[in-house]
């Protein structure tokens, strides 16, 4: 007597169409990958790049002087004209770039010793505590941290209370330097973490070899550690530089000096949308250039 073995429900091979599809996919690995990525990449292109593209297109459109509405496909370079002909936009762009450079340098100088201590000196326990201490502020909302800095900087604030006994006047709010200090504080973790990761990757044996060959600590640092960790430093600088370049809330709250983002905001709410779009091209072009250089320096391998 023979019985036909019937596989239990659930592990039965799929019937007709499903089976053919599965077999086809198996034979075409390229199609598999494409199907897998279609969703996320589609979202990226349409929702992410697409909206940016439409915004930038607005820079080349005219606007109605009364309603402020942009007239699509009414091509015009007026926005770029006003951007170039008025010196104030150059001043503001240079100010923003200057602070972005200053914040990046400050963070690099502050972050390096901390990252070095964490990666090469601290015990695992201390290292854990330090990592938590660096990550913890990232859990607090951005605005809370900026308002905390206002409490330090404003009149009757902590800074005034500390400086007055020495006969020094506190600078108060409204100083451009405040933006530099507060933005350096805000983005410091983004500089520490890549450098820490870069330093941790250096094998102990390289440092020993350097010492065996007679190099002093300074030489080892200059010729072994720094070249290896430099791409990580550049990787960190991408964050500190680009985040500063795009910020407009901190400059508004702790200082009186306008950044590129403030002009874009002012013009998108009340004024000239094409001008705002044209001005937003400035940080984008700067960042594209920055990223191209960063790639050359090997920063992308250190992210």
């Amino acid at each position: 007597m023979t019985t036909t073995a019937v596989p239990p429900e659930g592990i039965r091979p799929p019937d007709g169409r499903l089976r053919r599809t599965a077999a086809w996919l198996h034979a075409h690995p390229g199609a598999q990958v494409r199907l897998l990525l279609a969703g996320p990449v589609g979202w990226m292109v349409i929702a992410y790049i697409g909206s940016l593209f439409i915004l930038l297109l607005g820079a080349f459109w005219e606007k109605d002087a009364f309603t402020g509405q942009v007239e699509p496909f009414a091509w015009s370079l007026d926005a770029f004209d006003s951007l170039i002909s008025n010196d104030v936009y150059r001043t503001i762009a240079l100010r923003t770039i200057g602070i972005a450079v200053a914040v990046t340098l400050t963070d690099a100088i502050l972050a390096f010793p901390i990252a070095y201590f964490m990666a090469r000196v601290a015990s695992p326990r201390t290292r854990g505590i330090l990592i938590v201490a660096i990550l913890l502020p990232l859990w607090a909302a951005y605005l809370v941290k900026v308002y905390a800095w206002r409490a330090i900087l404003q009149g009757n604030g902590i800074l005034e209370w500390m400086l007055t006994p020495f006969g020094i006047d506190a600078p108060g709010l409204g100083q451009l330097l405040n933006s530099w200090v507060v933005l350096s504080y805000l983005w410091l973790p983004y500089m520490i973490l890549p450098i820490y990761a870069g330093l941790e990757r250096i094998p102990e044996s390289l440092l020993e070899a350097s010492a065996d060959l007679g190099a002093r600590n300074g030489t080892t640092f200059r010729r072994v550690v720094l070249p290896i960790v430099f791409p990580a430093l550049v990787a960190g600088s991408i964050f500190t530089f680009s985040l500063t370049l795009g910020d407009y809330i901190t400059p508004d709250l702790v200082s009186d000096a306008k950044f590129i983002g403030n002009v874009i905001y002012d013009n998108s709410s009340l004024g000239n949308l094409p001008l705002a779009a044209a001005f937003s091209l400035v940080p984008i072009v700067i960042m594209i250039g920055y990223l191209l250089v960063a790639r050359r320096l090997g920063a992308f391998e250190s992210l």
Binding site: A65, F66, Y89, R150, Q154, N156, D266, L270
Partner: protein, 277 residues
Amino acid sequence: MAPINTDIFENYENVFADLKDLPHNTVDGVNYGVPHGRGPNLLAYNTDETDAPTSWSVIFEDGAEHAGDISVYDSSIFIADAALYLKNTQPDLGIEDPYQLTQEQFDAAIALLEELDANDPLYWADYTDQISSYASGDVVVGTTWPLQVNLLQADGAPIEAITPEEGTTGWSDTWMMYSEAEHPNCMLMWMDHMMSPEANAQATVWFGEAATSPQACEAAEELSPGHCEAQHADDAEYWERIWYWSTPQESCADEDDATTCVTQDDWVEAWTNIRGG
């Protein structure tokens, strides 16, 4: 925007007459919305630090006395405040409406604002930002909204605010409806609701602006005694000195083709020039 037939509202007839049919929500006799509330931009000062001012001159003409301690609204619309001051102090300029300025009038307002900027004022964009500046004593005198004054006084800060003798700029809000709204009846019911005594009292007491009808004032009296008197809700004479925010237009918003005025874009750019340099 959709035209609104105000006859269908139960609460519209109670609304103060001087809030109806204003140019910012009525075109050729057709209404495009209903009033929500109005208020002035006030001159606030710290009673511990300075005598009570009576005029905007305290920040414009005599700003140097309070250098570093002046609070100024960070928006191009503030140019109108300078223009209003010039309307009173320099009648030769012939300013009629502080929002519709010829190039000459506009340049005079900008020159006045540059003088103000030289006195190193602290600019505010966000009202919480301004509250903390007044509370901490960083600023002593400057422009504000009734909302900030309410909140500061509730905290016991030594802040008072006045409507200066020149009058002031202000706002008058309107509920409007999109012409292609999917559920227009819903919005019409909302408009009527927001004009009802209870809802209008609650909304205007919270924001610190003037209620829109005597009935709303009665309801407001229970929520916050003295609210309508403090906000001049039924004082038509008071509102004649308030210039509601409106859009600068090339046509000067009049029928006269002979004069052209500085447009909104140029206002924003001029403000960037003052603030950005």
